[in-house]
Structures are given as C-alpha cells and as structure tokens.
C-alpha cells in the first residue's frame, strides 16, 4: 500500500487515477489540479510517492516538471512519477539529469501508458521502490537518435535491447527473463555497454541516469 499525492489538471483523468489507485489498494492522500497545490499537499501529507502531469495551469507548459524538481529538492528521496503528453526527451533528461537519482525513484511515462493499467501500476511500484523508470517509447527514441560518430552506434542490437530495458527500470534478473537469457549474460552485456559508452559501471538507477545524462550532453553539444 502506497500513500500517494496526485497532480493532474484534467478532472476526468484525475478522478480516474484516484479510482484506479484506490481500487488496487493504494491510498490517495490528495488529488490536486495545479503545481502550487501539489507542493503544498506534499509538504502537508508526506506521501510515499507523487504522480504528476507535466502540463498544468496556469501556463500549461512544464509546471508539473518544475514542481517535481522542486519537490525532489525539498524532500530528498521522494519518489516522483511524471506523466507527459508527448515524448519530449528534454523533459526526461531534465528530470533525470539533476544528479539526484540516487535519492529515490524517478519515473517519466507517457500519459497513454495509464491505459495499460497493469504496466502503469508496475511502473509506479518500481518508482516507489527507488528505481528509475523511463517510458519504453522515450527509451526507443533516445536510443534511435544517434549520429554516425555516436558511441551508441557501436552497440550490438542485443546490447541496445539490454540498454533499453535498463532504462525502463528493470533489474538484471527481470531483463534476463524478458530476453529469455541467463542473468550472467545480461551482466556481460551490461559490462560491454558501459565499456563501449565509456561509463563507470554504477549500480541500479544510476546506469540509466548515466546513459541519459550522456545523451543530454550530446544534445547540448549539438545545439
């Protein structure tokens, strides 16, 4: 059972989320419609996890994301799951690039993912457990956006698959199950990935973070 605060400006969706979460046994402490109310509710209720929309009043841009970043500052270790209408990899990298992933779970999912009720609940639980979860679609795009001299191009297809699943927040065991390989070979793939990408092999969420931050840097260099 998780104690959750929800921020979502669309009334229907907010009600739907509340109903869904309560029905599967979580407790929704507060369901609010804008970022200011979200910060206030979290300060007051100290929830186990936060689910927030990116686009909220008054400007309908990235209030939810900014609120999420602020909450992570005020409550270190607070798991936050951000829902976005579109891929906007910049959001994901901003959310994950703050260097705070070792202090609690983070999630970035496309809104449509809530239709896959099971996947959504799974993701929320993984985030609450301190992992980083990135929407498969976002991962796919992050991995496909590479140039000829991009180190990602040096990965084998299987290694890219493993990297993708890592970014979605799965652990080695789960990745092995999904790819129907042994855990040992996943570990081997992971080692290759870190070597090829010239990254320190770090544990858990930070692996994803490293990849995304790396991508973020690439994008900034391009721009």
């Amino acid at each position: 059972m998780l104690r959750i605060v929800i921020a979502e400006d669309a009334v229907l969706l907010r009600a739907g989320l509340v109903e869904l979460l309560e029905r599967v046994g979580h407790r929704v402490l507060a369901a609010v419609g804008d970022a200011t109310a979200l910060v206030r509710a979290v300060d007051a209720e100290r929830p186990d996890a936060v689910v927030t929309d990116v686009r909220m009043p008054p400007t309908h841009r990235d209030e939810g994301l900014l609120a999420a970043l602020e909450l992570r500052d005020r409550h270190p270790g607070l798991p936050v799951l951000v829902l976005s209408q579109y891929v906007a990899t910049a959001y994901a990298t901003r959310l994950l690039g703050a260097g705070s992933a070792d202090r609690g779970g983070l999630g970035y999912l496309l809104k449509d993912r809530v239709l896959e009720v099971g996947d959504f609940l799974d993701a929320l639980e993984r985030v609450a457990a301190g992992r980083t979860v990135i929407d498969p679609e976002v991962v796919r795009i992050l991995l496909s956006r590479h140039t000829a001299d991009d180190p990602l191009g040096r990965l084998t297809p299987r290694e890219r698959e493993v990297l993708g699943l890592m970014a979605e927040g799965w652990n080695n065991q789960a990745i092995a199950q999904r790819l129907t390989v042994t855990e040992a070979s996943v570990v081997k793939h992971a080692g290759n990935i870190f070597m090829k990408l010239d990254l320190d092999p770090v544990e858990g969420n930070r692996r994803v973070l490293a990849v995304l931050a790396y991508h973020n840097n690439q994008a900034q260099q391009e721009n």
């Binding site: 109903e19 686009r55 906007a88 449509d112 009720v117």
Partner: protein, 419 residues
Amino acid sequence: MGVAVWAAVRRRPGRFLVSWWPWRAWALLVTGAVQGVLVLVVLVVGLLVGVGLSVLGVGVLVLGWTALLGVPVGALERWRLRLVEPERLPDPHRSAARGLRGRLREPASRRELAYAAVQSTVFTAAGLLFAAALALCLLLLSAPVFILAVSPDTVMLWPGRPVAGPLDGFAASATGLLGLVVLAYSGALLAGAQVRLAQQLLGLRDADLGGRVLELTRSRARLADAFEAERRRIERDLHDGAQQQLVALGMTLGLAELELRGHDTPATAPAAALVARARGEAKLALEQLRTLVRGIHPQVLTDHGLPAAVSELAARHPVPVLVELPLPRLPGAVESAAYFTVTEALANAAKHSGADEVTVRGTLDAGTLRLSVTDNGRGGAAPGAGLQGLADRIAVLSGRLTVTSPPGGPTRLDLEVPC
C-alpha cells in the same frame, strides 16, 4: 492611356461632326461649368471662413475639410468623364485610410484638390464661354424662323441694321452652322484636355498602389495569424476535451479488465476479452486523435519549439533522420510554417525518394531562419499541392521555399524566413 474623343476626331474628322461625340463634349463642358461655379464658391467660402476662424482652432478644421473637397469632386468627375471617355478611371483611395487625417495624408487627395482648383477656374471659365458661344450659334442658326415668326423689320442681327427679309436670316444660319462646326472641334479639343488632366490627377498612381500592396500584405498576414490562432485553439480544445475523455475511457476499461481478471472464471473470460478489445480500440482512437492534432498544431511545438517538435517527428519517421537545429524560440507563425515544411518534406522523402537517410539542418543567422531538408534518395521530385500550399504560407511571412531535385538525387528543400 489615350483620349477617346481626340482619337475620334483624328480617325474620321468628317464623320465626327455627325456622331454623338460633339454633343457629349458639349454636355461635359456645359455641366462642368455649372459644377465648377459651385465648387469655386465652396472653395472660396471654405478658405475665407477657415482663415478667418483659424485663431479659434475651428478654422483649421474647416480648412482641412475644404482641402478634402477634391475627394467628392474627384469621384463626381470620374463618373462625369464617362460621357467622353469609355475607359473608367480607378478610384485611387485606400479603403483603410478613413477620416480627415487619413484622407489628408493620401497623395491622391492632394491631386484631387489640384484638379478641383483647375477645373473650377480654367475649365469653368472655358465652359462658360463655350456655353455662351453655343447659345449664340444656335440663335444664329434659328434666325430664319425668328424672322418668319415676327415682322422682319423688328429683327436686328447687327445693331442698328434691321434685316431685309428671311434670306438675310439664312446668311445668319450659315454663320451659326459654321460656328457650331468650329465649336464641335474645339469642344472635342477642350474635353480631351480635361480628360487628359483627369487621367493625370484623378487616376491611380504607383505610389497609391504601393500603399495598397502594403495594405494587402498586412491583411494577408493578419489572416494567416488568425488561422494560426484558430489552429492552436482547436488543438487546445481537442486536448482538453476528446483526448482526456478517451484517456478516462481507456482507464475505466483497464479497471474493468483488472476486476474481471481478479475473479477469473470461465464465465468471465469472454467478457474480459471483450473489455480488453474495447480498451485496445480506445487506445487506437486516442492515437488517431493525436495524429490529427499533430497535423493541426502539435502541442510539443507550442510548448517547446521547433527543435523538440522536429525531433519527435524524426523519432516517428520510418527513415533515419539526423536533426541539427540549434535554434532559440521563434515567432509562432515561423515555427509553425517551418514545422509543417519539415513534415511535408519528411513525408515526401518516405513516400517517394527511396532515401535511407534524411538530414534536417537549420540555423538562425542575422534574423533569418535558414532550414534545409536533404535526403539521399533518387531525386526527380515534382513539388505537389502540399508544398505549394506551404510555399504560400511561407510567402506570407516574406520567406522563400525552394526545392531542388535533379534526377538521381539528392532532393533538397530550402526554407528561408526572416524573423
């Protein structure tokens, strides 16, 4: 521009006399004389009153309105001149320039005032003389009738010399007829001169046209802006309305699915399958709606600008797309036009080119957006209706869209928009 009445005289001088032309010219001159007198009176009175009251401030207003007398005179003259000139003069005024200030600022108004001044003096004087001469000639022409009607002794064609009989009257008629012939030609000459003057002063000049083009360009830009705003409104409405509704529907169906799975019995299995299908259909509808919204005005473009929006396009594209767009936020209309240009170019590349790589590059340099979409396909592309529409949209922004696609490739689309 020619003068029709002069051309008529030159073409067949003899035939001219028995045509309608002399009558038309006379009608123009005589009515012009009447009009001219009235205009002159108003001009003089307006000027005097204006100068007299100028210390009060009201006088300036009176002078201003007097200066605008040319405008109705010009309109009347353009209409009246149709008596002798089939080619109509276009109205030189701009519809937008209304009110005293607007009209005074127009060069066309000043030209019309000059015309009114010349018409009410020179042409009016000529017209009055003409009317008198015409009356005299008609009088002479009808002399025999007079002589017959009244006793010959009392008629004096020349002062102090009573006529001898009706025959003397015919001599007078001949003189009158001769006078009419002279008046026909000189009337044509004078009417033609007035037409010429009107063509110089009352018609449309390039300077007026410049203003008109500017006005048209502005109104076109306003129209484009309105369309842009409307697109955003539709996007917002769909996002807040139907899209949310569909997500909520999908969630409810997902919940139902969970519930049915929770009590898994053979009896609920078909229902669970149906609910799963319904959820899939809701998801499909949502995707279709999202595609539609993207075609109208994508949210990511509104929120994050061109680089982010093009990256999303590229990610969804079947052919690998390299995106290099180091751009800041640009005006909405520019971003939107550039985005849809890239959309169209990418769609064409995927459909026709056979390319396996597309590059989108763009820079903002000295206030000009330069964007290119290049594919390594087989080339030979003919710009379709989609690109034509985009070229129009870009032209509104004073931009330029060029497509080069030699057979064998590569196809390259270039966009240049000042912003």
